[in-house]
């Protein structure tokens, strides 16, 4: 089971990055367009040789592969430094954003879903209405709206991961600066996912409360609170765990646009810049890292599903 997952993960990273490399290579135009119209022929051919653009696409792919197995992902033209360091740093920034958003979505969505799925009160109806609204506001809109609110009220910085003068800050002050910049993009990313969690949790909670074992627990005289928290809730977690892997993928997708709007220096922005400039090794490096994210996400999703459902754990999965 685990070996199978690892092979799938490696395959995913391999296929995604190779496809990105070939796509960027076969696209019309190449990175030498960045040199401007006055570049000399020798300059252009020098750059082409440096980025292996003088080889055939297949030849370039093979050269790239032989380097990748030694963890050398080539150089970036845009930043004029090795791709590996750039991608690792951007991926760390995206991971901070995604983990914060996932934590927010979980902490908001699941308790609210338990409440709205187990009661018929005005509060539950309100939660349902709010989450229906949040579901209809995708990350592009939430980030634009939050940036607008932040700019009008000045409660939060509107963009970037640090302030302009953060270079000179010491580690603790630097962390505080990042922490001040984090809530806005994290919330923008988390809201739709939180609403999704709330809806799924509410639905499965309602279903769990109608099952015979909860009725039996109620009949034995347990308090409604105990029935909900100790009996119905663990069972109702299964669909949530099932979509966790998907949610991580959705966070990665959503993070692109949130990073773009809020100028968060993450993987999405880097990939976008690389794609536009046809910075071929940077494209492939970003794609490899994105593939790794997805693989990790699906493994986490599987582990959670196994933790929540003994049938999956015992290998008699549905």
């Amino acid at each position: 089971m685990l070996a199978q997952r690892l092979i799938f993960a490696l395959l995913l990273v391999f296929v995604v990055s190779s496809a990105a490399l070939l796509l960027a290579r076969l696209a019309p135009g190449d990175v030498t367009a960045q040199l401007g119209p006055f570049a000399s022929a020798s300059e252009i051919s020098g750059i082409r040789a440096r980025f292996d653009l003088d080889r055939s696409p297949a030849g370039q792919w093979l050269v790239w592969l032989t380097r990748v197995v030694r963890f050398d992902f080539g150089d970036s033209f845009l930043y004029n430094r090795p791709v590996r360091g750039l991608v690792v740093r951007a991926a760390a920034n995206t991971a901070v954003l995604a983990v914060a958003a996932l934590a927010l979505a979980t902490l908001l969505g699941i308790p609210l879903g338990v409440v709205s799925g187990s009661r018929h009160s005005a509060g539950a109806a309100l939660i349902r209405a709010v989450s229906l609204v949040c579901l209809s506001v995708p990350p592009l809109l939430t980030s634009l709206l939050l940036v607008f609110i932040a700019a009008s009220t000045r409660w939060f910085p509107t963009g970037g991961m640090t302030s302009v003068d953060a270079i000179g800050l010491r580690s603790f002050a630097w962390l505080a600066d990042v922490a001040a910049h984090l809530p806005l993009p994290a919330l923008a990313l988390a809201l739709p996912v939180a609403a999704t969690f709330e809806r799924l949790q509410a639905q499965s909670m309602t279903e769990a409360l109608h099952q015979p074992f909860t009725v039996a627990a109620m009949a034995r005289g347990l308090s409604p609170r105990d029935v909900i928290v100790r009996h119905a809730w663990p069972v109702s977690l299964r669909p949530i765990c099932g979509v966790y892997g998907l949610a991580i993928g959705a966070l990665l997708s959503g993070s692109f646009v949130v990073e773009f709007v809020t100028a968060w220096p993450g993987l999405g922005r880097l990939m976008y810049e690389a794609l536009r400039a046809r910075d071929i090794y940077l494209v492939a490096g970003c794609a490899a890292m994105g593939g790794l994210f997805l693989a990790v996400g699906s493994v986490i999703g599987d582990l959670l599903l196994a933790a929540a459902d003994p049938r999956v754990r015992e290998g008699q999965a549905t």
Binding site: P139, L140, S253, F256, G290
Partner: protein, 324 residues
């Protein structure tokens, strides 16, 4: 709830269809004196000439982009002239800017209703294309079974894992960055359909594979119906409910995908009004604070997605947002 969602969708569709009649100004007309002009306030009282009327706006301070209303010259709205519902001629004190003007002095409201045409048409055509290809491939795989079936499910699993917006981004970026609007429409339709069909195909395959063992299909086969007739007349109609459900997922996703791609400059060119190209004007934070009407396309997208989600919720399914 469901009824409300359906009515909202009908209204949006009617607005898109009637765009040339509803828009007070041509969508690409630039009013040089009205860059970032605020919405015209339509007045009913104040003892004007014939209500409703507006006061013409005058740029008082170009540096601060401050506008003032010229209260000495009230201008009545003109109904049903120039084959428009309502307008104010530019010569006679216009333009009528119901939602203000954008960075080039174009009427936001007019652009908004014209944008509905492009954005909705693209999402609709892409959805139909994805459903068509998905139903065809899924139907064939479910009926035939075997090798195609296996390859199809592996492929679908793979597509499902990929974050759609990155694939769309990479595919679009792999083409020439500047393309004419009609080509962009085709390219985006192709990309969206490519991303959407495998998921549809998997569901259709499952339904067809289980339906083909049912008595009515066996009876049809015994009566000598060809596989294509069985598929077209009996099996695919059984998937109609599933296809409708998929459409409610794909449509909002495609509207958002267009908006995202156009917003980052990889969708339609700026000259074509779509909700995505209009949102580009909202990218400038400091200008956005003074001109919040730049967020109008965001409201339009919200209304459409909310309407679809209301319909979804009303049919007893759980609306989710996991594939942006």
């Amino acid at each position: 709830m469901k009824r409300a969602g359906q009515w909202m969708l009908v209204v949006v569709a009617l607005v898109a269809l009637a765009a040339p009649w509803l828009a007070p100004n041509p969508p690409d007309r630039r009013f040089p004196g009205s860059l970032y002009a605020p919405p015209s306030t339509v007045r009913l009282f104040d003892g004007g000439p014939r209500a409703p009327f507006i006061y013409p706006q005058r740029l008082v301070s170009p540096l601060e982009r401050r506008f003032e209303e010229d209260t000495s010259r009230p201008v009545s709205l003109r109904w049903f002239t120039d084959s428009r519902l309502v307008t104010v001629p530019e010569a006679g004190g216009g333009p009528l800017l119901l939602l203000g003007a954008d960075s080039l002095g174009r009427d936001t409201f007019s652009r908004l209703v014209y944008s509905a045409r492009t954005s909705l048409a693209l999402a609709l055509v892409s959805t139909l294309a994805a459903l068509f290809v998905g139903a065809l491939v899924g139907g064939a795989a479910g009926y035939a079974g075997g090798g195609i079936d296996h390859v199809l499910s592996r492929f679908t699993d793979f597509v499902l894992v990929l974050p759609a917006i990155y694939v769309a981004l990479a595919l679009r970026a792999a083409m020439p960055l500047v393309l004419p609007a009609a080509t962009v429409f085709l390219v985006l339709t192709a990309i969206f359909a490519l991303l959407g069909w495998p998921v549809v195909a998997r569901g259709v395959r499952a339904i067809v594979a289980s339906e083909r063992e049912r008595e009515y299909v066996v009876a049809g086969r015994a009566l000598g119906a060809t596989p294509w007739r069985l598929l077209g007349r009996h099996l695919l109609p059984a998937t109609a409910g599933y296809l409708a459900a998929q459409a409610t997922l794909l449509l909002p996703a495609f509207i958002m995908a267009e908006a995202t791609l156009s917003y980052v400059g990889l969708g339609f060119p700026d000259t074509v009004p779509t909700w995505g190209t209009m949102l580009q004007d909202a990218a400038n934070v400091s200008l956005l604070v003074d001109a919040p009407w730049m967020l109008a396309p965001a409201a339009a997208i919200f209304i459409v997605v909310l309407a679809v989600n209301l319909v979804v919720q009303g049919t007893g399914r759980t609306p989710v947002q996991l594939e942006p």
